[in-house]
């Protein structure tokens, strides 16, 4: 379970380019829930995910995962609990390492790394079996440098890597955005399968309203560093893309009014 309470984060405070990226952002995700996150550019989605993963320190607020306070933990300290797939396919893998070395790295996510060989025969078989489920022929290319793979292939491997080791939270930040439509659909399908298979608590940022509603059990909308919409269950089932777009426009309008009031 993720519990983020009252997160605040300001970039470049006290300068003309000051940006309040998170303004009292709170969100609770029960164990096993798959949440999709939407919001306009600059709403604070990536900042929120970065705060949860530890890449950005919050100015105030509290981040707990399964009751453990993570607020002050560095990225590598949280990695035991948090798995990630980045938007940029190049970011989630080490291009200089082979496919199996990348997977071996992920297999030990958050654990002590000792002096035994990273890729052992038994592990190699496990990786081969995992890769063959992708149907991309990668099971025969274990010792190829991962830099030789296409973006879609790398993203698919990244997803497998995220699930090699149990995690309490999976973070996906527009992880299909850099892919062509067919590959994106494939990676999304794979995501749904892996999340279901491992019953992962998941937060997925997307710009596609369709995706946001089709996938997962709950959808939240961020605006100006806060949750402005949170739908699940029956209410969500009744929603359509244009409903969502309407709400999108509405909250945006309201928020602008809010600010106008404040400024006035």
């Amino acid at each position: 379970m993720l519990k983020a309470s009252e997160l605040r984060l300001t970039f470049n405070p006290g300068t003309p380019i000051e940006t309040q990226a998170l303004r009292g952002m709170s969100l609770e995700i029960p164990t096993g829930q798959f949440v999709t996150v939407i919001g306009s550019n600059g709403a604070g989605k990536s900042t929120f995910l970065n705060a949860v993963s530890g890449e950005q320190r919050v100015d105030s607020g509290k981040i707990e995962i399964d009751g453990i306070d993570m607020t002050r933990q560095p990225v590598w300290g949280r990695a035991r609990h948090v798995a990630r797939v980045f938007q940029d396919p190049l970011a989630g893998t080490c291009e200089d390492l082979t496919i199996e070395e990348n997977m071996a790295l992920a297999k030990m996510r958050g654990e002590r790394r000792g002096f035994s060989f990273a890729v052992k025969p038994a592990l190699r078989e496990e990786f081969r079996a995992q890769l063959s489920t992708l149907g991309l022929g990668l099971e025969n290319r274990l010792s190829d440098r991962i830099g030789l793979l296409s973006g879609g292939q790398r993203q698919a491997v990244s997803l497998l890597m995220a699930a090699l080791q149990p995690s309490r939270l999976l973070l996906l930040d527009e992880h299909t955005a850099a892919l062509d439509p067919r590959t994106a659909a494939f990676v999304l399908e794979l995501t749904v399968r892996i999340v279901a298979e491992h019953k992962l608590t998941t937060m997925m940022v997307t710009h596609s309203m369709r995706q946001a509603l089709d996938v997962g059990q709950r959808t939240v909308m961020l605006h100006q560093g806060r949750v402005v919409l949170d739908v699940s269950g029956k209410e969500r089932e009744g929603l359509d893309v244009h409903h969502l777009l309407d709400m999108f426009e509405k909250v945006r309008g309201e928020k602008i009014d809010d600010d106008a009031l404040l400024l006035g």
Partner: protein, 296 residues
């Protein structure tokens, strides 16, 4: 070239292949431009020569020199990781600090080893001449280091260091403490350089405060020459390439200095190095250019 100069070149080439392996770890695996080596090479020499001159066992002295190198690398890493000083600058600071430290250790600008025992003359069998035995022993040492490095960098811990250099953000997301990985890699790199310095002092008749000048350039030259001789991203091939690079480089230098018709002298060494590195940098690009044309 006589057999004697040939073996001499091989000997120095092998010693510098340890430097080159160290430079490969910092520059290539960690992507940390580390100039500490100009200080940790003479540091190794200073520690070994001073200890041997004071009557310590040469093996103990060599190990101590290696550890001293590791500490120097650790400090450079610490300046960068904990004090957030830019990598190149951190290593320059360490390099100049080591100049004073090395003088302190030696107590004078040079410590000769003429009659003292060394790891070489202690192990040398009666039947072999010293100039034959030294390169022979060094081949074994370098081979052992190479195999140990290949093995280490395919362990979980070694993989974490390579991942840190290749994609630190990803490494952290996988739970790698990248700060510690940098410290470990820098310590390992400079330990090898310290070892090289200790062996150099024991083959060249002592340590000298200026023995470190240009070490980094020679190390880099070896890495670059090696990579153009044997381009490969596979680690066990890359380490061979780097070792070959160091030896080939040394042969070229010996050749250039020994060919009367070119008329080069010892003081032209740095110029020869610069030309060699330039050629080694340009050749792969020309090769790519030509093969590109063929393909078109």
């Amino acid at each position: 070239m006589s057999l004697y100069t040939l073996l001499g070149a091989l000997e120095i080439g092998l010693i510098f292949s340890l430097v080159a392996l160290g430079v490969y770890i910092s520059f290539r695996l960690l992507r940390f431009p580390d100039l500490t080596v100009d200080g940790s090479f003479p540091l190794g020499g200073a520690v070994a020569a001073t200890m041997i001159a004071a009557g310590h066992d040469p093996f103990t002295a060599t190990i101590a020199a290696t550890l001293a190198g590791a500490v120097a690398g650790l400090l450079t890493g610490w300046l960068n990781v904990s004090l957030k000083i830019m990598d190149l600058l951190a290593s320059i600071l360490m390099m100049i600090a080591l100049y004073s430290i090395n003088l302190r250790i030696m107590g004078k600008p040079n410590v000769p080893l003429i009659t003292e025992p060394t790891v070489f003359n202690l192990l040398q069998p009666e039947a072999l001449a010293d100039y034959v035995f030294r390169p022979l022993l060094l081949v074994l040492v370098v081979l052992a280091v190479k195999l140990a490095l290949d093995a280490y960098f395919s362990t979980q811990s070694g993989l974490a260091i390579r991942a840190t250099g290749s994609n630190a953000r990803m490494a952290r997301a996988q739970g790698v403490n990248t700060g510690m990985a940098i410290l470990a890699g820098m310590a390992l790199s400079n330990a090898l350089v310290g070892l090289a310095g200790a062996l150099f002092a024991q083959t060249q008749g002592g340590a000298d405060i200026s023995m470190g000048v240009g070490t980094i350039v020679i190390g880099l030259a070896a890495v670059i020459v090696g990579e153009s001789l044997l381009p490969s991203r596979k680690l066990y091939l890359a380490t061979i390439a780097v070792i070959l690079g160091a030896i080939v480089y040394r042969f070229f230098i010996a050749l250039a200095l020994n060919s009367d018709f070119i008329g080069l002298q010892a003081q032209d060494l740095n110029l020869v190095t610069a030309v060699l590195v330039t050629v080694a940098l340009v050749v792969p690009r020309l090769r790519a250019h030509w093969s590109g044309k063929k393909g078109a």
